[in-house]
């Protein structure tokens, strides 16, 4: 996962304060409360606005033929028991639910990041769903325990089933989507299962972690359940409605086997099971009737919708089966704890990696011409660019301090400036650089004869070194003090003029230059008396010389010339 992951927008999230994926990721812990609230509202909304939903659903499916009667039959069963609920401000809440659902659909269309996002956003919410639905179904189960008709649990089950998927996904690749739904479903199922006892709630918690880890391919914690589950959802996804209907049938069969399972032997859960049998049988019928819908060339959307519903039902069944498997396979709570710890760690690790990736992306935007895709070369470029930037700033500040020195009026400020620069730059930069020896600079003026034959190739001695003009000793001493520093500075800047990522027009010249640098040294030694003994040349001639050599020679010589020239002007 690198920085090429597109940043996707989620426009219409109302309660969630995130406008981008990374914000959502970052704030997912902060927005847990919001999601909790919303989903809690969902729980209430689903309980209380079922008539509205059924009304809304029926026009959507009216082309689907078989889907509709099944749903209607289910809802007809529900409705009479439902009318004793007070009609509350359902539309508003229902709207919120819809928005939430569409928001939940959003990241699914992004190819890379949806898993992280969904897992991050939904995982903290899943227990809340459990709580909410436990509370919601708690009332219903109370009535069931008293001896109510099995319509009530059916209603709950159906509510849970019908909750998320009203807006269909816009792209067909929705494996994640099913996982998603099935997590809701798992939560809902948990809500029902939690009535039967505390042992069930334990498996519920474990179940949540396992489901979540099956979402993230990096983990692959529990092979069996997740494989079965992924296989189920993939078959839902890839297969047409035919295989979906088959899956629905098999799901129903598995469901029957599950209902015969011994572990959930409480009366209420049995009621739930039988009611779910009816529910799953009804989608079976609807799926069989959805096949003619595809044969008669209905729109893709409708097909998808129908398929999606089958997928829900089926994944719900898979969930139930996996719960059974879980119960029989491992009953210890230590593995539960461990998987939870691993899950939490995985979450934090993922957040850390996301933060790093985000910063990497920001860094890449700051570095020009950085089209590296992997982190290592990205960081390499960042390091080099940082170095070159630091160097550039140093050079420019040096240039800024140089310019005032070029005025003749401010000549007296030169030695402290030189000292400061020498201290600052020479100490910092010139450590491992080729040091230009001290006499070389001062003897520059006396090297004219030597430079005459060297001049075409090696520019520095060719530049006529202006000697120190003032005859007083203190001035000379100051100049002598500051000169080695500045020569160090000159040499160090010469040596450091190699920002590797930049087009370097004088790189080859640098090599030549440094190779030839020792050449004038013996000549310096040959001439023992440096510049103080030389007669002072006129400023005009000096300037002309400097200008001539500067235009004549390469830039490095220019740089050096300027530095040397400034020291001595």
């Amino acid at each position: 996962m690198n920085h090429f992951v597109p940043v996707f927008e989620m426009e219409d999230d109302d309660g969630i304060p995130s406008s981008s994926a990374f914000n959502g990721l970052k704030k997912s812990s902060a927005s847990e409360d919001d999601i909790m609230e919303l989903l809690w509202q969902n729980g209430q909304v689903v309980v209380q606005s079922q008539t509205q939903r059924s009304l809304k659903r029926s026009p959507k499916h009216d082309g689907g033929g078989g889907l509709n009667p099944a749903d209607h039959s289910a809802f007809k069963e529900i409705r009479p028991s439902f009318h004793d609920h007070p009609a509350l401000p359902a539309p508003h809440l229902f709207m919120q639910e819809d928005e939430m659902a569409s928001w939940l659909h959003y990241p699914i269309h992004e190819p890379n990041f949806d898993q992280d996002l969904c897992a991050d956003l939904l995982y903290p919410a899943a227990p809340c769903i459990t709580a909410a639905l436990t509370a919601a179904t708690g009332t219903a189960s109370a009535t069931t325990n008293v001896g109510g008709p099995p319509v009530r649990p059916l209603q709950n089950q159906h509510l849970a089933v019908a909750r998320p998927p009203i807006p269909p996904p816009r792209k067909p690749d929705v494996v994640q989507n099913f996982a998603h739904f099935s997590r809701h479903r798992a939560a809902a199922v948990r809500g029902n299962m939690a009535e039967s006892g505390p042992s069930n709630s334990k498996t519920v918690v474990r179940e949540s972690t396992v489901v979540d880890s099956s979402d993230t391919p990096a983990l692959r914690l529990n092979s069996r359940v997740s494989e079965a589950f992924v296989a189920a959802s993939i078959s839902d996804n890839l297969g047409g409605t035919l295989s979906v209907s088959a899956a629905g049938v098999s799901g129903g069969a598995g469901h029957g086997a599950m209902a015969a399972g011994p572990s959930t032997s409480t009366k209420t859960t049995k009621d739930v099971m039988t009611c779910e049998m009816t529910v799953t049988s009804s989608p079976g019928g609807s799926s069989s009737s959805a096949v003619p819908a595809t044969q008669s060339q209905r729109t893709e959307d409708r097909k998808r919708k129908g398929r999606e519903e089958e997928g829900e039902y089926h994944s719900e069944d898979a969930e139930f089966e996996s719960v059974e498997v879980k119960k029989q396979a491992r009953g210890s709570t230590s593995s539960n704890k461990r998987s939870r710890a691993a899950e939490v760690h995985n979450l934090s690790e993922r957040r850390r990696r996301d933060r790093i990736n985000e910063k990497m992306r920001a860094l890449q935007e700051l570095i020009p011409r950085c089209n590296k895709s992997d982190k290592a070369s990205m960081l390499d470029e960042a390091i080099e660019y940082l170095k070159s930037l630091q160097l550039q700033v140093q050079m420019m500040s040096m240039g800024c301090s140089m310019v005032p020195m070029m005025f003749p009026g401010v000549q007296q400020y030169m030695p402290p400036m030189g000292m400061g620069m020498g201290m600052g730059m020479g100490m910092e930069m010139g450590m491992n650089r080729p040091m230009m020896p001290f006499p070389n600079v001062l003897a520059g003026g006396s090297l004219q004869s030597a430079a005459a034959h060297l001049g075409q190739r090696f520019p520095v001695p060719a530049f006529q070194m202006p000697p120190v003009l003032h005859p007083d000793a203190s001035r000379i001493q100051v100049a002598n003090q500051s000169d080695p520093m500045l020569s160090t500075l000159g040499a160090s800047t010469l040596g450091q003029q190699r920002p590797p990522n930049f087009p370097d027009p004088y790189q080859q010249f640098l090599g030549l230059h440094q190779m030839q640098m020792p050449i004038p040294m013996p000549q310096n030694q040959l001439i023992p008396q440096p510049s103080t003994s030389k007669p002072s040349s006129s400023p005009g001639g000096e300037h002309g010389d400097g200008h001539q050599s500067g235009t004549f020679f390469h830039l490095v010589s220019l740089q050096f010339t300027v530095i040397v020239w400034i020291t001595t002007t």
């Binding site: 990096a218 992997d374 960042a382 500040s397 220019l558």
Partner: protein
């Protein structure tokens, strides 16, 4: 610890290892004046290093802009030959 396990598993699939990344991040950290002086003991998280790098690059950009403005202002007042020298010196940084 589970952290070791999961990290090694994840780094197996990624292109560069976590150690390599940490090494580079440490190098980067040495370039940052804010984080240069932090000891090895208190480990700076990589995200913070990267964030500081971004900030530092931005501040360096600002500094470069500021300095170039000042320089161009200064060079306008100097005579042309010297200005040409300094300009050519600075342009090829």
């Amino acid at each position: 610890m589970s952290s070791r396990r999961s990290r090694s598993r994840q780094s197996g699939s990624s292109r560069i290892s976590e150690d390599q990344l940490l090494d580079l991040v440490t190098k980067l950290q040495q370039l940052l004046p804010e984080l240069r002086n932090s000891r090895r003991a208190d480990k700076v998280p990589a995200a913070k290093v990267l964030q500081e790098t971004c900030n530092y690059i931005r501040s360096l950009h600002r500094e470069v802009d500021d300095l170039s403005e000042r320089l161009s202002g200064l060079l306008e007042t100097t005579d042309s030959a010297q200005a040409a020298l300094i300009r050519s010196l600075l342009n090829y940084n």
